[in-house]
Structures are given as structure tokens and as C-alpha cells.
Symmetry: C2
Subunit: 209 residues, 2 copies
């Protein structure tokens, strides 16, 4: 049995959708960011980084979305969520996911989590970071739009673990005031994902728990 720790409106949605896609049996545990529960001693014992997602498995605890997505794909091979027998094709999926976590998500985080990188009291610098988010997030997604997103799915004809991750980060485009007019293919992908029953099931479960 797996236990999946998440918070609504965060990147944990990507792994949550992948668990649904895999047909995995798992318990869902919400971490309440409103009460800073991610910094509670009980949760820090699960994930010392104080972030979501975390996945408790019989072997131990996993964190970090790209690692978790690959784990789900490899643990449930029948679901065909990644090209597991082709190191190059698998690396392409992983390169996409790595770009999302290390560049796209990071650009977004400067809107709400600026105090990770400047003193929390430095209101001017926090504001300066926020101000750049529309531009930096749009630039990140334009690279996806023009080159990485093959269509209809990220990797082309085959749906993979890259798709729920892109969908998850694309949820934040409006909040980040990205220039949507430059991202028609990203928005098309987002709409395509939103039609999938597993996506709706995961979102509904997060909002009702």
C-alpha cells in the first residue's frame, strides 16, 4: 500500500494523476498549507524538506516529482506511462520533466515563495521578483510551445508521465499572468488533459479531502 501526501493547487497533482493512471492502490493525505502543516514535526519526519509531494511506500519514502513519476511508471509497467525499455526515449521524458521542475516551477515560485531567495522582510525585492514572473513564466512556456510539446501529447502519440506534469504547471498560467496568446498549443494540451476522467478524479479528490 502507498500513502500519498499532497496539497491542493501544488505540483503534487502531477504524481496524483499518475497514480490514478497507473491504477495504483493508495491512501490520500492532505497537508494543510493554510496551517503550515508542511512545517509540522509530524510531516517533517516524513519529508524533512517540508514540501509536497511525498509518497510513503513499503520500502521507504520518496519525494521529488520527477523521481516519483518515473517510479510510478516503472512500478506499474502495464499502464505504459513511459518508454521504459528505451533509454533514449525515457531520457527525453525525463529531460522534459527535469525542465519543468528546475526551470518552469522555479520561475513560478518567485511569485509566492520569494523569501526562499531574499530576506522575507525585503518587500522591494520580493515585489521585484513577483513583477518578473509573467515574463519569465511566459518565456519558459514558449520554449515548450515552440519545441518540446510534440502533440497531441508531450512526447507525441504516446501519453506519458510528462503529460500530467505539464498539465499541473499549466494550471498556474493565469495566476502568473503569463501571456496566454503566445501559448495556444500548451492551452490545447491543457484542455485535452482536462477531458481525462483520471485527471478529474484526482482534482475532485484533492478539493474534497
Amino acid at each position: 500500500m502507498l500513502t500519498f501526501y499532497f496539497a491542493p493547487h501544488t505540483c503534487s497533482l502531477a504524481s496524483h494523476i499518475a497514480l490514478e493512471d497507473a491504477g495504483a492502490d493508495y491512501d490520500l493525505r492532505r497537508i494543510d498549507f493554510g496551517k503550515t502543516e508542511q512545517q509540522s514535526p509530524a510531516y517533517l519526519a516524513i519529508n524533512p524538506k517540508g514540501r509536497v509531494p511525498a509518497l510513503v511506500t513499503p520500502r521507504g519514502i520518496l519525494t521529488e516529482t520527477p523521481a516519483m513519476l518515473a517510479f510510478v511508471a516503472q512500478s506499474f509497467p502495464a499502464a505504459k506511462l513511459a518508454p521504459l525499455d528505451d533509454p533514449f526515449a525515457f531520457a527525453e521524458v525525463q529531460a522534459f520533466n527535469s525542465y519543468l521542475c528546475s526551470t518552469v516551477h522555479v520561475a513560478h515560485s518567485h511569485r509566492m515563495r520569494g523569501s526562499r531567495w531574499v530576506d522575507a522582510e525585503d518587500a522591494d525585492s520580493i515585489a521585484a521578483m513577483k513583477k518578473k514572473v509573467p515574463q519569465s513564466v511566459t518565456a519558459c512556456f514558449e520554449l515548450i510551445e515552440r519545441g518540446m510539446l510534440r502533440g497531441p501529447w508531450v512526447m507525441g502519440e504516446a501519453y506519458t508521465i510528462a503529460d500530467p506534469y505539464l498539465f499541473t504547471l499549466a494550471q498556474w498560467l493565469e495566476g502568473d499572468r503569463a501571456d496566454l496568446s503566445r501559448l495556444p498549443r500548451v492551452l490545447e494540451h491543457r484542455a485535452r488533459m482536462a477531458e481525462r476522467p483520471n485527471v478529474n478524479k484526482a482534482i475532485a479528490a484533492e478539493l474534497s479531502s
Copy 2:
């Protein structure tokens, strides 16, 4: 044949060492950051992100360190650079590498690359970011020190692709003015890595090319 694009003193060293560890046959191409060659049309055709590393393979081009490291491990299984047949253990390696790319490297980048996240002309905010780097980088490495680094190698007894990556980012500790007194085990690991012939070969090749 593989062609590996790198720049000295960047995170590309991690994949470079892994290619040596794998016994791979590859050509080395230096990208001159001093001449902003990473933004040249010729290099942007290889990697539109304008970053290193990039690995040109007969199948296509790969980017992103965690993806490249896993690709090297999977493509050269005889080198035993990752627990390839154990999805959980493989995910632990990948979670470590993902933390390095999305959190540790990002904390470091606020010292020299602040203009990614605020306007380049905003000297005060750029300076505010620089000022926090010693604290944020130390905090990142303390999590590694206290919990993630099992010793003697990152994952314990077995050397993996997590080791050259940690070594590479630990090169920057002094420049980032991290509190080294709090990181004895990280420094021990760095010294252990520095004794490996493949590490010295990779560094020497980067500095002489």
C-alpha cells in the same frame, strides 16, 4: 558516437564524470561562456535553452543533468552506475538528483544569475539575492549532510550517478560562502570523489580544452 557540450565550472561536470565512469566514447566540445557562446545561434540550434550540458546522440539531443545521468547509467549498464533493476532504489537516486537540480543548484544560481528572476537593472534586488545565498545554500547542504548522504557514497556502499552530481555542486560551496563547518560529511565526500582518476581526468580535460 556521442558529442558532449560543456562549460568549465558548471553543472555539466557531473555528466562528464559519469561519461568517464561509463567508459563511453565521446567528443568533448567546450561552450565559451565568456563569449556568451551559449546564446549563439549555432548552440541554440543544439540546445534552445542556451544552457549546458547537451549531449548529441545518434537518436537526437539530450539536455538536463538528471535525465542525462540516468541515460548514461541505463545506456552503459555494465558500469553499474545506478540500481537499474530496482524501481524504488532507482527513484531514491533520482529524488536526490532532482533535489540537486531544482533546489540546490537554484539556490546557488541566485548569486550569479539573479537576472533570470528580477530585472537585470534592479541592482538592489540582485544584491539582495546574492546576500541570501550563503544562508540558503548552507541550508540545502545541511539537509544533505544530516539525512540524504548515507556514506561513503550518497546512496551508501554503492557509487552511483548521484555522486558526481553532488561533487559538482559542492565545488561551489566556497564561492557561495556556505558555512563549511556545518558540512563535514559533504566535504569528506567531496575529498573522496577528488581522489577518483575519472574525476581528475574530466576536470583536466575541461580546463585544457
